[in-house]
Subunit: 197 residues, 2 copies
DNA sequence: CTCGTTATTGACCAAATGGTCATTAATTGG
DNA sequence: CCAATTAATGACCATTTGGTCAATAACGAG
């Protein structure tokens, strides 16, 4: 049984998916046209439809790609012990601010954007978005528990839920905020809470 | 000087604006077509363009309408002393959960949706979104300060920023969450923090 | 070399998009 | 009653939309 019969794909599927994801991430579902996708990937319509089947499928694949490339990376840096638990939490909550005022990147979080993208919402999208959130929440539990090993599990988990929800809010509000001070205020208040749990 | 010369408007401008806002709120900018707006308002294209000038202008007017009708109402219930300060804060943070699981309303918050709507973003939209957030933050200060009159102002304001950001996160995540328990966890953790400030 | 299989291309499609405008209608001031 | 002003209508427009498909090309198996 051979790996592939017939003419082989001429493009790197992961590279192409990364380009498509970038568009949906920044612009959302409806605002991203096939013409955008063709231009960004250098592929013709027919190739895209042969590979993915529909625009919706491209969107869903983009969400999966985001989970693999971005969410999983976030999980790693929250759970790895290269830094102190407190630093990991601080960096996690600072990332939304850092992206905008340190990197001029206002794309926000694709999960959060997709959450509010009614036109693109269906069972598949919802499942993927929710799965991403759950992964992050689970990862947040780790450093919180390390900081407060004596706290009951329910309290740790509630705190993780608080920080995840706050993170979403930071990602959303950072897209329009004119100055970072209000967002830093929210972050600092949250970190104080974790410190004094 | 008379109030109006020429043929008068045949529609109630506020009613029509409410319909248009409902569409942009639920569907976002790109996913809402003129055809949707015509159907919802019962007006013809020409009338809409005579009244507003462009689709973008309709969107901006919708944001203004939201500020007047929804944000200002939220400010009122946060600052009025019909309820205890703690109840007001609790109800504010519960509203996102209540909307979905008590009213099957998954529209979220128009400000939050608009924050992530890249296609609709321009200076005007950004200004209005930010102004709405600021109004809510300012209103949140009131019950927090009532609960903790001895806390320094900066601490009170930071807490307001925390709660507002959390509110945004709740509004966003509630649109896709399958069960409310995680969101209730975040809310309850936040309320505990306010209690123990 | 041939045949089956799969990929690429770009022309083509119906439908929908945001937007305009000439015509007609309703109103007020004189 | 007439003129000026503003509103409503819907036909019309160029452009773009997501999507299809027949023709062609590149590969592996036999």
């Amino acid at each position: 049984m051979s790996k592939s019969v017939g003419r082989p794909r001429e493009f790197d599927e992961d590279e192409v998916l990364a380009e498509i994801m970038a568009l949906f991430w920044k612009q959302g579902y409806e605002a991203t046209g096939l013409s955008d996708i063709m231009k960004a990937t250098g592929l013709q319509k027919g190739s895209l439809y042969k590979a993915y089947g529909s625009k919706r499928a491209m969107y869903v694949c983009s969400l999966e790609h985001y989970e693999r490339e971005v969410v999983d990376a976030g999980v790693m840096s929250l759970t790895s012990n290269a830094e102190s638990p407190r630093d990991r939490l601080y960096n996690f909550l600072s990332a939304p601010i850092q992206a905008v005022w340190g990197g001029n990147d206002r794309r926000g979080c694709f999960l959060c954007n997709a959450s509010t993208d009614d036109a693109a919402m269906d069972q598949d999208a919802r499942r993927l978005i929710d799965r991403g959130y759950k992964k992050l929440e689970k990862a947040l539990v780790v450093p919180i528990a390390e900081l407060h090993p004596d706290q009951p599990e329910t309290r740790v988990r509630q705190t993780a839920q608080l920080l995840l929800t706050l993170y979403s809010g930071l990602r959303v509000m950072s897209r329009t905020a004119k100055d970072k001070s209000r967002l830093e205020g929210a972050r600092d208040a949250a970190i104080q809470i974790v410190d004094r749990l």
